[in-house]
Assembly symmetry: C2
């Protein structure tokens, strides 16, 4: 649950990041910026902002906007509709993003999980993405990511998004945003 005023403040801040990165969106897209607080009501620390360009039965493209130190918490995209889980590529466009995936644990990782939720973060193979760098995630594998000191804008290129079936390791998370008026 996120208050309407807070939601609108976060949208404005998101638009500022896009402008700084010279990424143009339409007025309608600006109205539809998604603030995903994931039901935790702690958007400055946990959650992310999205602009969804398209999501058809075959493919999907979005911009993901992360504020400095903001964490998109650990989750995976399970198989659906007889197909493998969502295949997604993250391409950093601006700022820096730290991505954590399954694989050998990175010694001295750059990021810590949001306070109080450490137990839900179990994959520690770190991938650093600066502008122009990208990484393709295997379907249905655990991952989480955090914005660097300036935040980050990431283009996501993927197969169809089915956010409603995403599996989060933190059972307190609800993927659908609820706004309190």
């Amino acid at each position: 649950m996120i208050e309407r005023a807070e939601y609108e403040k976060i949208v404005e801040r998101t638009l500022g990041y896009l402008k700084r990165a010279h990424i143009v969106i339409t007025p309608e897209e600006a109205k539809n910026v998604e603030v995903a607080d994931l039901g935790l009501n702690d958007i400055q620390n946990t959650g992310l902002q999205l602009v969804v360009y398209l999501n058809t039965a075959r493919c999907c493209a979005k911009e993901l906007i992360l504020f400095p130190g903001q964490t998109c918490p650990q989750h995976r995209h399970p198989p659906a509709g007889g197909q493998a889980g969502k295949e997604e590529t993250f391409r950093c466009r601006w700022g820096k993003v730290y991505l954590y995936v399954e694989g050998p644990k990175t010694q001295n990782p750059k990021c810590s999980p949001p306070k109080g939720s450490e137990q839900y973060y179990t994959v520690w193979h770190e991938v650093q993405l600066a502008p122009g760098q990208q990484y393709t995630l295997e379907p249905n594998t655990w991952h989480w990511f955090q914005g660097g000191p300036e935040g980050a804008i990431i283009s996501e290129f993927s197969t169809t998004s089915r956010d409603e079936i995403d599996v989060f390791s933190d059972p307190n998370i609800k993927r659908q945003t609820e706004i309190a008026d």
Copy 2:
């Protein structure tokens, strides 16, 4: 067939456009910019430049760069591997692009086909895309597009690309670039 020196000049020019639009690519991507002269050896008028970010068995993302007035000639993406043809969305990032698709003929279209190849241009429903605007093409439908007065950069989000089976209406076209050393 395109001369190596011309090819390299076109790559440099392409990198200038990306820089102007604040789109960052890696040094390796810069080395692999594709100049598609389509075998016509008339790249200033017919052809396009591409940076391919990814092309997996499920999805694909590219930047397409068009110089002012440069035309990507009429083609379609036929079904393959038991699937419908490539589904692609063009999102204008910078400049302006005029896209022509199947549908009611636009009166007084903004563009003309490259001289001498008029007969191969048969679809005339015009879609104008400015930065932030996008259009999704139905699989296997004819389309062509031309850069506006400043040129254009277009993000293409799509299912898998199989350039080698693209069908062009001009039988003189060869999709694979050949460079003369």
